[in-house]
């Protein structure tokens, strides 16, 4: 599972914070790095009281990890209709992956085009946001992502 783990340290593109970039961790710690996949990002929406359209959450990147996993075509075909394509391809671009088309492809592509399936798989399951934040599109509320775990806890007045 953790055969080919690369670190893509990139400059923070946030307009909100001027935090220094996180230092590169030792090898041992690297192995434990966990992630939020774009699959999860595509499912998450902001849950604050009064927000009518909490999707998609804006991503702020501090650190992205790549983590190769086995490809499963059946899963990709099953999940494809549920993916919000616009949000998904935008998010993949923010994480620095530019290979996905902006317009949603025809479902028929999934049957034959192995090349596309590979790209889809890579963006959906192998790109991980490790450090950064998510922002509610309506209120701008920040949900910090640490060690790949988004903190979606709301304050009492937001419930």
């Amino acid at each position: 599972m953790h055969k080919n783990k690369r670190l893509l340290n990139r400059h923070s593109i946030s307009l909100y914070t001027n935090k220094p970039l996180p230092s590169i961790k030792s090898n041992k710690e690297k192995k434990r790095e966990k992630k939020m996949r774009l699959l999860t990002h595509n499912m998450l929406s902001s849950n604050i009281k009064g927000v009518t359209n909490g999707f998609p959450l804006r991503i702020q990147v501090e650190k992205v990890v790549e983590n190769q996993v086995e490809i499963n075509h059946d899963f990709l075909r099953n999940i494809f209709p549920k993916i919000h394509w616009k949000a998904f391809s935008d998010a993949s671009r923010i994480l620095g992956y530019n290979q996905l088309p902006e317009e949603p492809p025809e479902p028929s592509v999934l049957e034959s085009d192995v090349d596309f399936l590979g790209k889809f798989h890579h963006a959906l399951l192998e790109l991980h946001l490790e450090e950064g934040a998510l922002f509610c599109p309506e209120t701008g509320r920040k949900f910090p992502v640490t060690k790949g775990i988004p903190n979606m806890l709301l304050l009492e007045d937001e419930v």
Binding site: K31, N42, D74, F75, N78, K82, V159
Partner: protein, 291 residues
């Protein structure tokens, strides 16, 4: 002090580092968790076509239940309120994604995207008001409402719960029904106090044949107990409403209780150490009519 963790502290405080460590060090806890999650997956009854589904694990904790999902080849997203438990999950390098969140605030997920949900020993926490702002009824409503929304039509949710009492079970169930779920409670080992486990099996969508509670076998108590003795020991299930054991009937006929009955009773008394007259040919013999 009660042994119920729900009564000791709120979940994010109760499951601190030392409590979370138990979930990696105690093989007993791990074994129970794995068994519960295997059973929950079984009740989830996903179509057996080898296609991985996207499941939700509510109250995933250290990811023990998630690992069972991974073993069955599905993708999952886990939600928990305790950072310590999630840290343990990180150390265990679980496959699914983790979210730090409170199910009582509703699940922040898009509608109709999840293929199934399981939850092991978590939902009863909603019945407690741990903060002044907590109102159990509102939290249950928010939880079941958002769960119903994020599940795909026809998808199932299997929630293993430890309700404190009958009222709590009714409360949980009534809010599930109000959210639109169909389904009911499945009880494993109903006659055992320790092994007894309850599962809420909920189906998204209007009631139909496919939404029937899986253990709907045995509509009356008698056939139910038959099933139990014939079926394999591991999977005894009885519907909650049919949990009435048939009353033992005393064998009384015209002749009275009979010699056998008297001999048995005398034997019982002897075992207790009472002084009992010996069994003779006169024992339990009828008196003559002229007497």
């Amino acid at each position: 002090m009660s042994s119920r963790p729900e009564l000791q502290a709120p979940p994010e405080i109760f499951y601190d580092d030392s409590e979370a460590r138990k979930y990696t060090s105690s093989s007993r806890i791990a074994e129970i968790q794995v068994k519960l999650s295997e059973r929950a997956l079984e009740l989830l009854a996903l179509p057996d076509d080898g296609v991985p589904r996207l499941l939700l694990d509510i109250g995933c904790g250290s990811g023990l239940s998630g690992e069972t999902i991974t073993e069955n080849g599905h993708q999952w997203i886990g939600l928990d309120i305790s950072p310590s438990m999630l840290n343990v999950a990180l150390q265990n390098e679980v496959e699914g994604d983790l979210l730090l969140g409170d199910m009582g605030q509703g699940l922040g997920l898009r509608p109709g995207v999840i293929d199934g949900a399981i939850s092991i020993s978590a939902v009863q926490w909603l019945c407690n008001a741990d903060k002044s702002s907590h109102e159990p009824r509102l939290r249950l409503k928010a939880f079941f409402g958002s769960l119903y929304r994020c599940l795909a039509r026809g998808a199932r949710a299997v929630l293993q719960v430890y309700p404190e009492n009958l009222a709590q079970r009714e409360l949980i169930l009534s809010y599930a029904m109000r959210a639109g779920f169909a389904g009911g409670v499945v009880v494993d080992y109903p006659h055992s106090t320790k092994k007894r486990k309850e599962y809420l099996v909920l189906t998204c969508g209007p009631p139909s044949l496919s939404t029937a509670v899986p253990s709907g076998k045995g509509e009356d108590g008698e056939s139910c107990s038959d099933e139990e003795s014939s079926g394999d020991e591991e999977n005894q299930t009885v519907r909650n409403s049919d949990r009435h054991r048939p009353r033992k009937k005393q064998k009384i006929n015209k002749k009275g209780k009979g010699r056998e009955w008297v001999l048995r009773k005398k034997e019982q008394m002897r075992k207790k150490g009472n002084v009992v007259p010996p069994d003779t040919k006169y024992t339990a013999r009828k008196r003559k009519a002229r007497f």
